[in-house]
């Protein structure tokens, strides 16, 4: 199983529902993590997950993945039980610029074939 697959792609969307600057994130790249959910936290202001990824040398590298808040994940179809510890997943992130194992969540592909992103619906336009 290939642990980490780098793909340089331009990603247009932004995650603005953050409590912090995202300057440390390289938005020009995406990284595909194939591994196992170590922990998933459904919490404010950010949900987050840790993904254990084989490092190709017999070891495991744990990636820290920051996500938006549950209020917006719900709008993208998430529940607190969507991913659980031990689930085998393929997670796409925008990586940290400094190369350490962490990044901003883009999407997750579950073993049952379902894909979840975190794009919340835009605030509805005012009613006439």
């Amino acid at each position: 199983m290939r642990a980490v697959f780098f793909a340089a792609v331009l990603l247009a969307s932004t995650s603005v529902f953050a409590h912090h600057s995202s300057a440390g994130i390289d938005r020009t790249k995406s990284v595909e993590l194939v591994g196992t959910i170590r922990q998933f936290s459904w919490t404010n202001p950010h949900s987050w997950m840790e993904v254990d990824v084989p490092d190709g040398k017999g070891g495991i590298l744990t990636w820290k993945v920051e996500m938006t808040s549950p209020a917006y994940l719900v709008r993208a179809g998430w529940k607190s039980t969507t991913v659980k510890t031990g689930d085998e997943v393929k997670v796409t992130v925008r990586p940290l610029r400094d190369g350490s194992p962490g990044g901003l969540f883009v999407s997750v592909l579950l073993a049952d074939g379902r894909t979840f992103t975190e794009r919340p619906a835009a605030p509805p336009p005012p009613k006439p």
């Binding site: 603005v16 529902f17 409590h19 912090h20 600057s21 995202s22 300057a23 440390g24 994130i25 936290s41 404010n44 202001p45 950010h46 987050w48 840790e50 820290k64 920051e66 808040s69 209020a71 940290l96 610029r97 400094d98 350490s100 962490g102 990044g103 901003l104 605030p123 509805p124 336009p125 005012p126 009613k127 006439p128």
Partner: protein, 261 residues
């Protein structure tokens, strides 16, 4: 023993009378006091009660505060911060991301922090709670003046006093903190900051428009002005959000080397 008790009682009485003598007589009734709520007042032209979200339909600069207009000459200290922030931006770094380290965003940034804001309007005050860290802002409408600067506790959202002018609510906010408070990246807010907001309701109460005028002679010369809009969002909730000490442990970008201090 009896003498000691008498002495203690006498000291107690002295402290009691001393405290009574120091108590100011002009402490206002709080906005929720029935006697304050019951005071006769003209009917408010509009009611902000509801949940609002900054209108992000335009460019980022249309809803953010900043960058500062070229006409506003910065003080030497602000210029230093501004140049450092620009250098950090060119290097792809965040400059003094205090909010990311759990410092409050503060006014005016909290109003556009891309999280919904719940507002409850009473005749005496408007209570605003941002979903972002549950930041509380109170706009007093009960006719009180600004607090004595020697008494007021300075805050990130300041002290807001609102008055109705026709169909506009004019809110004057002062008494801000002097550190860890930013208008935008590299533009510090100081304890001399004053913000005047002219709030109007548009489109049948579905759009809130606020015209901002900011002055802070310790940070820049002249006034900076922006006009922002918020949409009423009836399907978004403001719930409990806190910046706990372990939050950033799981948010790697807050701890990367791409943080410039």
């Amino acid at each position: 023993m009896g003498k000691a008790l008498m002495l203690a009682a006498a000291i107690g009485l002295l402290f009691q009378s001393h405290a009574a003598a120091q108590a100011p007589s002009d402490i206002p009734l709080n906005p929720l006091a029935p006697a304050n709520l019951a005071k006769p007042r003209p009917k408010a032209p509009f009611d902000l009660t509801g949940t609002w979200f900054i209108d992000m339909a335009g460019s980022q600069n249309s809803w953010r505060f900043g960058p500062p207009p070229p006409a506003n000459k910065m003080t030497a200290d602000t210029q230093k911060h501004f140049e450092a922030a620009q250098k950090a931006q060119k290097e792809g770094k965040a400059y003094r991301d205090d909010i990311g380290q759990c410092w409050p965003a503060g006014l005016p940034l909290i109003m556009t922090r891309v999280w919904p804001i719940a507002m409850i309007q009473l005749p005496t005050a408007i209570y605003m709670v941002s979903h972002f860290m549950n930041s509380l802002r109170i706009v007093y409408l009960d006719g009180r003046p600004h607090s004595d600067p020697d008494v007021v506790v300075r805050t990130f959202n300041g002290e807001s006093i609102g008055k109705w002018e026709g169909d506009t609510l004019v809110v004057d906010t002062t008494h801000f903190v002097n550190d860890h408070h930013w208008i935008d990246a590299g533009i510090p807010a100081t304890d001399a900051l004053r913000i005047v907001e002219r709030m109007r309701m548009l489109k049948g109460g579905t759009v809130l428009q606020i015209e901002y005028t900011l002055t802070d002679p310790k940070s820049w010369e002249g006034t900076m002005k922006w006009t922002k809009q918020w949409n009423r969002v009836d399907d978004q909730e403001v719930t409990e959000v806190t910046c706990t000490p372990d939050l950033n442990t799981h948010i790697p970008s807050t701890q990367s080397e791409f943080q410039a201090r």
